[in-house]
Subunit: 101 residues, 10 copies
């Protein structure tokens, strides 16, 4: 089950540089694990922004929440979640593909 | 070069049902052609909405504009375009993959 | 899997009263069926508004989309979908209940 | 009398971790008491957010205010209150149930 | 139980002048009845706007909804409902008054 | 001359509890004085919020500004001012009352 | 007593050109009368917009409402009213002027 | 004197195709004349939108208003005007250029 | 050339009272100089707010920027600039005045 | 490939003046280098604001992101990126120019 997760990072003024570096490194490791587990299918950065768009593939809302609320930067993120479904044109496209068109 | 294109359809009150049906059928055919040409990589519907999220892979801004402004429903769409770049975690992921990790 | 679906009805100016009456009757019948099938768990009207809040219990995003996009008034609704998860306090509450507290 | 209470938590940058832990523990205890007293009927977490949606069942606006303004985290919450009424479809549904339909 | 009800009138372009006149006359009669019944305590017009602010005194959310959704102009109004409670300073003021201060 | 004044309190993170207590006590005293002087006709708290709605009766804009900008919490308030006028239905109501209706 | 009145004109699609011309001519005449009566002190057009900013000098909120709601284009205007007071720097400026500075 | 003018076109539902075609042709001719007269320095289309960004070079606000309010599509445009000034880095850049750097 | 400049002051939490007093005194002196130089034609305070509306009369955008960015409180202000032009009704009014009407 | 980059600077309260001065000097140097490299074609300041509008000419989204995220003030900026394409009127204008018109 797919979700688009749109994340804008808010770098806090009062956190020192080392603590921030440690958090962003942990965030990167966390993302690798989500990728390896097949939970994060796609991730892009928005050009010119400290922001990402990712497509997550999870069992259900609970798994999505567990994964997103576990992000090391969770308290420094503005997060928007959009549940997705297969688009009719994808179904049609796959039928064309299967038919050798 | 990748762009997220977020589209909300505004069905006009004053268009008759046949004209709308013809437009939406043309829209679907147009999408198939974009898919076949490798220009539209992903497309999803937002759950519970008459809206889509798609990732387009184009040569440049000009090609993006030509493709989007050619949509048969163009004048009935609220469109938001977000330029995307590869995320550092994808680079790291591909290095892990290549290294057999 | 639970979703809050927040719906504001936009009554169109140009639809005649009989057509609107037929649509709202169909909407009510549709809601009964969703209730009977156990898909719509709760539904409330917002006081002083032509708007509803409902909690839907569905298999996945696809089923949610099928049910919501099938609403007879779908093209006259502003819809916001919020995926929900069990709250930790509910878990704690159920443990208290089970323990006879 | 029912109200939907939508709460987004704003974790303050300058509060130390222990004080925050104490506050969130107190918040959880407070919720248990509201549940036990039959004042909080439902509560969900929004998936991927530090936010809750709850349905409160209170005597009147005064009781609602007393309960909500007594939340230990009250000064760290963005709160939206929506008064609710029984939906006509619930009335119809209960008539169907009563009639053995 | 008190509510502030903030109403902005949207005069529709396509309704003819007589129908609008009939509706606004019915709206005025309806307001008189609400005033007579003690349900509408205060009502003001916003200066320079086709908009009102009113304080309603009702039994509960259900009565509020019945009264507001019965407004003859209901489908031409943008309505915001705010539940109110007695302010602590009013309590203090009444104590001062009672004490002869 | 009447104005609705809508106030949302923003409790600052960095002020200590005693200073805040002193300010809110001064705010309450100030309100009593405004009430006694007949300048503040009505005041309500919004249910579930740290916010008030009040109707002020002043000579002119200057008096309104003097009174509002003198609030001890002035720099911690989001304030919206709406000038009000007598509603036509109040005039009609008073005529009915006077006529013994 | 001064008010800034910010007006954006919404030209309706369905009104014919002659009716619109008559309304805008009436609006201009109405403005002349307000100017002659000393009620409208200043009026400017916003550059590049079908919008005006005007400063009105009136007895009270009631006179403001009577004047603004009497505008021939009233139902085609988005209106924002801001009550103004003399700025402290104007007082200081007038003292300097009076002192020959 | 420079201004950025951001324009979003709103194609009206009720205008017939020929009238629209005539208006957009007139708009294009008008733009050519502005370009020829040195009044419109730059113009771009926003990728994926029916919208333009242009930099106008005019004598003063009056000339800007005359030019923009004369656009054949004026009543179908959402227009935002931003006055611009030379950026300090341009001054520094020109000094570098002049110095042969 | 006229501009409306709308300014909302944001008093910072972390600046001490003396520094703030010095800044606001400097701001007042600065305003006096602008008034004396004929650059600031009008200035009002918004009733009930820490905010001003002023009309500036400058040579061009550059002079406006130099004057506004030189305000001692510049980094604590939310500023909106609106370029103004003479309104047609002012022209008509002046013709009436000149003709002895 | 062109992009409009709209930047509003947020000067942080807690950074000392020397650190801020160093950052803004580095920002200026960075801009010079972007100008020299032909990556930043135009840059303007918004009149009366601590904000810039610039047109960047880059190879692709990746280069845009590298350049913008490398700005020394990156974490203190609100940035909006708009991909641009050549406007049809520019094409027409160039044809006129080429034809000697």
């Amino acid at each position: 089950m797919l979700f688009l997760v749109d994340i804008q990072v808010r770098k806090p003024e009062t956190l020192d540089a080392d603590a921030w570096e440690a958090l962003t490194q942990a965030e990167s490791d966390y993302g690798m694990e989500a990728r390896r587990a097949g939970k994060q299918l796609h991730v892009w950065r928005k050009a010119g922004a400290y922001a990402t768009l990712a497509v997550w593939d999870v069992e259900d809302n609970d798994e999505l929440h567990t994964l997103i609320s576990g992000l090391p930067l969770f308290h420094y993120l503005d997060i928007t979640v959009t549940p997705l479904v297969v688009h009719p044109s994808t179904v049609r496209w796959e039928q064309i593909q299967a038919g050798g068109a």
